[in-house]
Assembly symmetry: C2
Homo-oligomer: 340 residues x 2
DNA sequence: ATGATCATGTAAAGCGCTTTACCAATCGCT
DNA sequence: AGCGATTGGTAAAGCGCTTTACATGATCAT
């Protein structure tokens, strides 16, 4: 006797209770007050039939989906993974599902998700990119429903925005290095046109100015937030006629590249060369040596992005200014006095 | 002049082309052959109106959603993050969306997702857990539609299964350690009742047997796949009357715990104590020293889980036996000859 | 000329739910 | 007794799409 029972629908429970679907629906959604025994009849039927509303029917009828999309370059990257995890946690706390979309940094995929999701698939989109946009993605974002842009800006968008306090992070790093005695430094950034790379540099330079030092002594190397770029930039930097005594890597990944090159060349981080990283999501304390870094408060960013998302969905005016999430200097063992 | 234009529906393009919605729908879905100019009329109208089908209406009508769910303990964990990324990539390649669900290892959330998603929210579920189940989750899995269980078994389920070749991984680790001369070893596992922990141990022991060594010399420490457990187990192990000369950690995280304790105590990994990790997803090559590890082929697991998912959705008989994905020994610098 | 066949469509039901617009019966008041 | 308000419901439209069943005209072999 195969029990191939179908999934119960609202209608089934209506029939089981001798009520109309409307009554049952409104009771479920709390938009009607019924006599006690009617309520109990309904509840027990729901229980018995193991009824659950069909989310698609619900979405179709309601026009909303009770879920949001998270568009992210790459989940395998620890920074984005933690960001996604933070968003997920916050979303779950607010009863929202999360649709995950990895773009692999491809414009096509960004646009595709923006379309598919913003259409009607989800109520809103938390968008984080790693690419510099030519305007097309910006247009798509502005055309979409509720969007909050996180971590990296997309020029020309009117969405709510959440960013780390990059500038302050850069300043913190520079001050720490300067305090240790460094004068000739290097900045290894991501793409030169990315907001985060620019801001971290600006902060770094402002601290140099502030200290009355010669900004010309600090070299900049730009590329991308990857280990590969870290390797390349580290080599270029070390092969320069007058190599720096300290380096500020604008991401964990870049710092890992530096670490690798130094290991290969027998350069001891923290002694021969000082290093400050940015992000602090990997287990930087377990590296050799433990890496001093500017820590982003990823959890807070994720949470706040969801909060602003809910505001955006409710149609509330988002604040014009991007929200800045504080960063923090975590001192470990990769910074020492300069050697020459 | 505010352009508050509504989203175009199928009906809109039908009206724009003077055709019926049915005709347009069937043309879009390729289930009708139309004269060239009719086709062009439709296509251009779609273009012009920027029409996209409403996914919920589509799902409701079709009974499927073109998306799958991934249930995972914690996305912030690099191993699961990479697994999720691999699944995402494969799913995207097959035109499937991915709904991400983090359970934080809570039974309630596992059950909740199993319900919500398996109901009708997604076409199938890729389920990975970290918990030992009391039977309830197993029942829910069996009741759900297409499910593939990955990485860790759930006892009593009839789903398709994809696991790493844990036993072989354990054997590989043991042989490597034995070849280096170790006799007194420790196994630091996760929960003792977890399949993966048991299998890795079994493989480890079988290699010991095979080598004709005394299995009593290998101590086992069980707990969870976390840094915290790694710390604790490492301390217990080192404080034993006769500490081992080598340790096999059943996860990267556990190995990180060992690393930390050893750093604190001035024990040099690779010289005073040998260490082999399992997973190899973190940048283990950048640790101090670079860690020898058994590598899981996460990408392959993710991809294959999607392939089997598609089979399951199509209702094809899944193979009875779990699929085993090969593992590989990656030799770095954390294993040396024993000291006493 | 006649039916058969094909090409090009149309109308309408149904997917499961929410919600608006109603309605009948009861109750409390004057 | 008569009135309005309240209680406890119902019927039906509509969300956007797919699909089945049917219709119309042209083409073709006989």
């Amino acid at each position: 006797m195969v029990s191939h029972r179908k999934i119960a629908t609202l209608r089934d429970v209506a029939e089981a209770t001798n009520l109309s679907v409307a009554t049952v629906s409104r009771h479920i959604n709390g938009s009607i007050k019924l006599p006690r025994d009617t309520m109990e009849r309904i509840d027990s039927a729901i229980q018995r039939l193991n009824y659950r509303p069909n989310p698609h029917a619900r979405s179709l009828s309601l026009g909303r989906t009770e879920s949001i999309g998270v568009v992210i370059p790459d989940i395998a990257n620890p920074f984005f993974a933690r960001l996604a995890a933070a968003v997920e946690r916050a979303a779950a706390a607010y009863g929202l599902g999360v649709m995950l979309c990895a773009t692999l940094n491809q414009k096509e995929r960004e646009l595709d998700y923006l379309q598919r999701l913003a259409r009607n698939h989800v109520d809103g989109l938390i968008f984080v990119t790693n690419r510099v946009d030519d305007g097309e993605v910006a247009r798509a974002i502005n055309a979409a429903k509720a969007v909050v842009v996180m971590d990296e800006d997309v020029d020309g968008t009117t969405a709510s925005k959440i960013f780390a306090d990059n500038e302050r992070g850069g300043a913190l790093a520079a001050r720490h290095l300067i305090a240790a005695g460094h004068r000739r430094m290097a900045y290894l950034g991501g793409a030169a046109s990315l907001m985060s790379t620019r801001e971290r540099l600006r902060g770094f330079q402002s601290a140099i100015d502030e200290a009355g030092l010669d900004p010309a002594l600090t070299a900049g190397f730009f590329g991308s937030y990857t280990i590969a770029h870290g390797l390349e930039a580290a080599r270029a930097m070390l092969d320069a006629p007058e190599p720096p005594t300290a380096v500020f890597a604008a991401s964990d990944e870049i710092a890992l590249g530096v670490l690798t090159v130094c290991r290969d060349r027998g350069i001891r981080i923290g002694r021969d060369l000082s290093l400050v990283a940015f992000d602090d999501v990997g287990p930087l304390d377990l590296f050799d040596p433990p890496l001093t870094a500017i820590r982003q408060d990823v959890d807070s960013m994720g949470w706040q992005s969801v909060v602003r998302m809910l505001d955006a969905i409710k149609g509330e005016d988002h604040q014009a200014a991007p929200q800045r999430v504080p960063v923090e200097l975590i001192v470990r063992a990769s910074v020492g006095p300069p050697v020459r």
